[in-house]
Structures are given as C-alpha cells and as structure tokens.
Symmetry: C2
Subunit: 504 residues, 2 copies
C-alpha cells in the first residue's frame, strides 16, 4: 500500500489525493506527509508488527497514518469513537498499541477516562492539538525522505474491531494484500478511477467506508475527502463544492440531505446514488455503474467486506450474487463437507480477501480458519444458477439432540407460508433433547393458520428435525433497533439452554 | 488459477467456458476435464515445478492443459509452432519437459525432425490423434475427481519464450499471481465479464492473446473460443455464430475480414473493435470501453504484457499511459538512480505483474532483476503529467568511451528537426573512443539541412556525448520487415564494435 502512494506521486503529480477541513494535498504532498509519519514511527521504534491506535473521528490524518504505517510494516486500528471510556480501555489493553493518536473535541472525556484507568504504556499524540504532544508537531519535525523498509504484502495493516459475537470484540487484521484485492474487485463494480472523488462520510471503524470506496479510489489515484463526522448540511455543501462522485451515506442522512436541498438547491448531480437510488429518488441522476444497477452482496469485515457481489456475474436467484475472481466460496455442513445446491450450510471463503485472523486470538483463529477456509458463521446456500443466498447468522443456534438448528433458515421457511407475516424461532430447554424448537408467529390481518398447519408446512420443506414442536401466535414480534428481539421472546416463552450461551 | 475453474463450475453451472472445432463445454464440464488432465499428469508423476510443452496450434485442449497444470503446480509452455525443426529442438532441450503434447497436421514434419534429433526423454501425446498415444485417449482414461494439491500462488504456470535479444530465446515464467493480476488489471480496461465471448485468434505463444483477453475473460467466467490458426473466413463466421465480443486480430486480417464481409454481409456487430477501430472503420460500432477509447500501453512478456496502459489515469503526454495499481514503474540511469522527469533512462518495474524470471537462466535473471526491480532493457521517460513515454529498446547500444548511447533517444531528437523525415544511429569503430556516433538521415523532399545543423540541433537538446560526430544523408533508410535495418546501415557505412556484439 505504501508503493501505491509512491507510484501516484509520480503518475499523478498535480492531482489531489486528500481533502479535509484543514486543506488539500496533491499526491506528492501526501506522499511526503506519509514519509514524515513513517520517519516519526521509526523514531518511536515502531516497525514490523507494531501497533498504532486511532482514538479519533475522521480526518485526512488517518489516511496519512495508514500509509505511514504501511511503509514501516506496522498496523493501525481506527477505534469506534462512540464507545464509552471503559470500552475504549478494553481496546487499548487488547490491542496494546505502541502509539495512541487521540482527539479531545467531543470524545476527550471518554478518552481521558480510558487513559486514566489503564496501566498500558504508550506514546500519546493529540490529533486536534498544537505544539508539544500533538501529532502535527511530531509529524512536521520528522524528515520527508522515503524510508527503505521491505514490507511483505501479507503483513497486517488495517485492524477493525468487529461486534462481540460471544463475549468481546475482536480485531480483524486486514493485510496489504487484502486491501489491494478489495480495491481491485470493488473498483470493477463502482467504476472507481483517477477522476473519482469519494467523501468519507462513513465511520473509519467500519469496513464499508473503506470498501465503498476509500480504498478503490486511493488505489486508482482519485481523491478522498474526510469530514470529522457525518453532518447533512456539511456533506451537502462538500458534494457541490468538490463535485464528489460518491459518499458513504445511510438512508436517514440521505433523507436529511434531500430535505435540506429542497431549499438550498445545491447542484449535487456529480454524485452517484449507488445502492440507495430508491431513497435518493429523482434528487440524483441514475447510476450507470454495477453498484447502482446491481447493488448488494454478502460479506463481513473478516473477508474485507462484501466478497460476494451482485455486480459479479449478473443478479440471480440468490440475494448476494457471486464471488469476484479473488474469492472462492463454499457452503459446508458441520463436518466441513460441501452442501448440495439448494441446501443451507455455513458459508466459508478463501482467497486474497480473507483476513490474517483476529489480533491476539489464536484459539478463535484456529477454530474459524480450518483447512484453508475462513468460516464465516453465516448461513447460506448456493442456488441452482450459482448465486449465493445469505440466510442469516449462525451465532444464535438451537441444539436439539445432536442436531444444530439455525433459526433464520426455519424462519424463512415459515415466512413463506401465505398466512404468515413474520416468524421467530427460539429454543426451549427440554430434559430429553436439550432444547426443543418453538416458533413465534405473526399472521397477516384476517389470515388464519393453525399450529399444525405451520408444522406441516415446515415438515414438507425442510429436514424434519428442524420443524417447530410448538407454535405460539402473536400480533407482532418484539423488536429492538429494527431486529427481532430474541431476548424478549425467550423471556416471554421460556426460551433458554442455548449451546452458545443464553446471552448470545 | 485452478481455484478459478473450481469456483466457476459452482457460480456459472450453465454457462459455456470454452468452444472449439470439437465442441463446447460448460464450466462444470470444463472443470471435470481439467481434473482429468490433472490426474493424468499426476499419473505421469508430473507435479510441482515440472514442465509440459505444447507443440501444437490453438485448441480448447490448451486451456484444459493450462488449468490441469495449474491444479498440480506444473508449468506449460506453448511453443511457437511456426518454428523450424531445429528451433523446436532447441526449445525441447532448453525447457526439458516431462510431457510433450504435439500436433501432426501442418507441423508434423518439423516436430518429427525435432524429436528425431534430440536425446531428451519425455512422454509424447498427440493432440490431433485418436487411440493409444493420443492426448484424448489419455485424458478420457483419467479420473475426474478433483486433485488435492496445495499450489502456491507464486508458482510458475505459463511459460512463453521471448525473442532472442542477445543469443537465444528465453522462457519467461508467468506465475498464477501474474495471471490473476494481468486479468484483474486488464478487465478494468476491456470490461471483460461473465458475458464476454473472446475469440482466441492470436497465437498462444504471444502474451498479447492471453492479456487481450483470454485471461480476463477466463477469470470472470466468460467464454473462450479457439480456432486452430487465424483464417479470415472462419473468424468471420464464428464472430456471427457465437456473438463474439472480442477477438485478437491484426490489421491485415481485419482488412481481409472486411473485404470478405462486403459480400457475406454477416452480422458482426457484437464485436468490439478495441485498439483497431480506425482499421475497422464503419464496419463495427464504436467501442465504449477504455480499450477502445484509450488503447495502447507499454510492456513486455516479462511483466505479463502491457503493465502500463493509456486506459489507466487518462491519456496524457507520454505514449504509454500509467501503471495499473498492481505495478510500480521507475525510469533509472545506469547506476540505478531514478532519472528526473523528462530524462530518458531504463524502464524498471515491480509488483504483481513481474514474472518469476526466465526458465533456467540464473545469471540473466540476476542481471535483469536487481534490488527488487525488473529491468526491461527498454528506454523511456516520465513526462511532466506523470505518464510514461516509451522511446525504444536499449538492446542496441553504442559505446563512446565510458558512455552508453541508446540510438532511439538520439534518433527521436534528430527526427524532431523540421527538415528530417527519419534518422538512424550507428556506431563506427574508433581507436580512441571505442565507437563514434554516426547518424544516417533522410530529409523531407525539398528540405535542406547540413551536417553541422543536425549536430547543433542535438547538442542543444541532449547531452553532448550523445550527438553524432558525423552525418550521412540518404534518400530513405533501408528497412527490413518495416523496421530500420541496422545491419544494412552498418554494412553501408562501416558500423561495428558494438559492446553487445555486432549481430545484436
């Protein structure tokens, strides 16, 4: 990744590499800054395999730090700045960085609390400060000569903590090779090139902002713009001023921008709506790229984001499309044998997109990476046309005797019954079988279906051991943050005894 | 590369992978055949690092053999079938294959002569035969179960012999990684995808046919069609019948096809003209891809073809564009120091596109691969806009005292004189300086220029030691196969004493 910056300073001497509130840099200026960061790191004795933690919001300084780390073989982790002081302390102690770059504005209190409560020793540099102790002071003091360090392409570079599945978050280590593969495979979909102007309005602690499309744009010599955090009015202005071609925006922000622009009437026609064209409506012209016409896919941080994309091979029966040439995908059963077409199993992936494992989790890594395949703990199936259909996560699993039952598969079967609007599966402790399957079902207004009809519906479509033994009817499922609230359902109907623990 | 076929059999179960005169295969059928080839090779004890020689014209069997070799870690070399028996014997003895696949039709005599005159032992299988001793017989007898061999991505796979620069041809070894990088970087330019239908009408012993675009199309699940050799009438019919989207065709064949189609009136509108749109004229619709709008680039077999492409970063001042994100390029002087912008030097390249070296040439490899950079022996410069300008080869070099003088640079300077139409530089033996520089110049009709004017023109533009000491005027330069005939010029004006030898 360091070589990309070195090349662009030569290939694109006049083009803008980065923009943020502090200004803009051409590729030669940006590359000089990354050299300064690399020399600063070397001066702090930070090199191959060492770690830098970013406790701050977004800024061009992060990209400088990423490429500076790339040039000396170190890793950098952008922590989730919305976390509490205690959560930040966990990340500091888990990642054990040699250098912490921190921000005072907005998050200074949580950072101070985390710092006060840990005994971990590191150099701390402030990103929004000046003078002694600030990142800027230290970077400017360092030389701009390029460092000559041979960095293996499989060295970890970018570390992103993923949500706690069992007990605690885990830092997924993405290598130089992963980012190159992510950028090449995604640019084909988004059409990122040297003329792209991407607004990094998504969080740095989310792989999505890197894939769509900071990394593809960086690789191709385009421009990355950073805003400290997403703000509809600021985003609106930047899109017009910089003729941004893409931005990482979620529907609520898009709605806000549209509302604001009804009065502001800014020209934002340079922007491609991407997957949210329906939300943008006629506020933007149509998006001719594959990301606009065939959006979506399947992935996770651990496979560098969406490794399977509808844009590859044409949209088909499955909801997630096909892998790019840089990934291989299989659907396997509990014994690791490939499932026949149409049968659900765990999605496993190998190739250039698979991460180097979680930082400091040797046991978990060997459990998830088996025989060369990364086990996603996500349930899916291969459709007859070769596309992948993602069904749901396997982390909530019901155990009936020796059988593993994954709720999403059975729920999707029940929801295919014409009378049903939604269904949720829980496990109820059972003295003989460990757990028995209970379905909670909401019927469409005016529709009727009996418990026996629901059970028969399942029996004729999926393996018999997966069918519910009991069905409870409700008007609507309880939900939390939009998702089915399984904890509430367990409490309502006596669920428990899960093999992964009851707080999964 | 084996994994690509394994994935496509799952992702594209109904699509056609290959077509040739013998029929067509879906991806599952093709993958089964490559498994049979792999099992055949294993049965012959051919595995990691072993070699297979293809002494035949084009056919789908070659692609089966390539991917069969990929699955067991072996290499395959498609030899130039136009060579004489003696030249083929050289390749057999130099490459020392465990298996030779040969063809009788059209080239049987040269093959038989080569085989009779070598003592090299190998298994020989005939590609256009039947029964015992034929490739088909051996493949069909092998099992179709997938082999389980772990093949490193940096293992050599495809070996292509490049023209003799100094004394003999050298086999450039392209790895799995090289082909993946070639395919990803090129597909962005040609827009190769699962719907592409590429007609392999170029020679298999030329990297161009692989890059444009057998490999990109293979990687993306498209269809590769093979014809035994290029024939305008056959090509014309296939383009219409198979709705081919691209083909490897040179201007003389294009002219022939256009001529034939004046009467035949076949619908060939599926074909994208690519870089030869001017030759196709209005016989084809415009090509919207970057390969149609911004064709050309710089490369050589040893860097997986065109590693620098006008399609990357937009056409600029230089004639060759910029590297894809998978290559880095520098222009260096004889000491390996980077030349300033605008100054000519040797083009050196590193990254995923650089081959694994020449087969069995350790000394030459260490001379060409220095400090991680592949030295192309091609002369170029970086323009002020960051693009690369290719000037010419450095293999014909003049030595004046301690200085190296590369004719293309000086010729291009002389040819920039308004009175000059063309110029050629030769070296004349000189007792004091080893060689002295002589320019042979053709003037435009009616134009005049003196020897002194030509010398002054150079002196004010390039380093003084490069300027000619003598100028001879001719009506036109002697040419051979379109290129300046330096041997004839040496004979005419007493050239000789070249450091690389007088027959370079």
């Amino acid at each position: 990744m360091g070589d990309i910056s070195r090349e662009h300073r030569r290939s694109f001497p006049d083009r803008i590499a980065v923009i943020d509130g502090k200004g803009r840099q051409t590729w030669p200026e940006f590359d000089d800054r990354t050299n300064q960061v690399a020399n600063l790191l070397t001066g702090l004795d930070i090199g191959a395999g060492d770690r830098v933690l970013w406790l701050a919001q977004s800024s061009a300084s992060f990209l400088e730090l990423l490429i500076g780390c790339a040039k000396v073989g170190a890793m950098v982790c952008p922590a989730n700045w919305r976390q509490s002081g205690d959560e930040l302390r966990f990340v500091i102690e888990d990642f054990s960085p040699q250098l912490v770059v921190w921000q005072d504005e907005e998050i200074g209190e949580a950072v101070a609390q985390a710092r006060a409560n840990t005994s971990h020793e590191a150099t701390w540099l402030q990103v929004d400060g000046e003078g002694e102790g600030s990142l800027e002071h230290a970077v400017v003091a360092a030389g701009a000569a390029d460092v000559e360090v041979e960095v293996p392409v499989d060295a970890p570079l970018l570390v992103i903590y993923t949500a706690a599945m069992i007990d605690r978050p885990n830092g997924s280590m993405l290598t130089h090779r992963n980012l190159l593969a992510m950028g090449m495979a995604t640019a084909r979909i988004t059409a990122a090139d040297h003329a792209s102007v991407f607004l990094n309005s998504g969080p740095l602690f989310h792989v999505g902002n890197f894939q769509f499309e900071a990394v593809p744009v960086f690789l191709h010599g385009g421009t990355n713009i950073f805003v400290r955090r997403v703000d509809a009015a600021e985003v609106l202005q930047i899109i017009e001023d910089e003729r941004a071609t893409s931005a990482f925006l979620m529907p609520p922000t898009i709605a806000e921008i549209k509302e604001l622009n009804r009065e502001a009437k800014r020209d934002i026609s340079s922007l491609r709506p991407g997957p949210f064209a329906p939300v943008w409506g006629d506020a933007l012209p149509a998006d001719p790229t594959l990301w606009g016409t065939q959006p979506g896919g399947f992935g996770q941080t651990e496979v560098s984001g969406l490794a399977v994309l509808n844009g590859y091979g044409g949209r088909g029966l499955g909801n997630s499309g096909r892998p790019s040439p840089l990934a291989q995908v299989r659907v396997v059963d509990a014994d690791g044998q490939e499932c026949p077409v149409g049968q659900a199993g765990e999605i496993v992936i190998r190739g250039d997109l698979v991460h180097a494992g979680y930082w400091n989790r040797p046991e978990l890594n060997s459990r998830r990476m088996r025989e060369g395949w990364w086990h996603t703990t996500d349930l899916g199936r291969r459709e007859t046309d070769g596309t992948i259909h993602f069904i749901g996560t396997m982390t909530r699993m019901i155990k009936s005797a020796a059988e593993n039952i994954y709720p999403p598969e059975v729920e999707s079967c029940i929801e295919s019954h014409p009378a049903v609007t939604e269904a949720a599966l829980i496990g109820v402790p059972d003295p003989r079988f460990r757990q028995s399957v209970l379905a909670v079902v909401a019927l469409a207004p005016g529709a009727t279906a009996t418990e026996q009809e629901i059970i028969e519906h399942c029996k004729s479509r999926i393996a018999s051991y997966k069918k519910p033994r009991r069905v409870e009817f409700v008007d609507a499922l309880p939900r939390t943050a939009g998702a089915k609230d399984y904890d509430a359902l367990d409490a309502m109907f006596g669920g428990g005894g899960y093999p992964g623990g009851d707080n999964v």
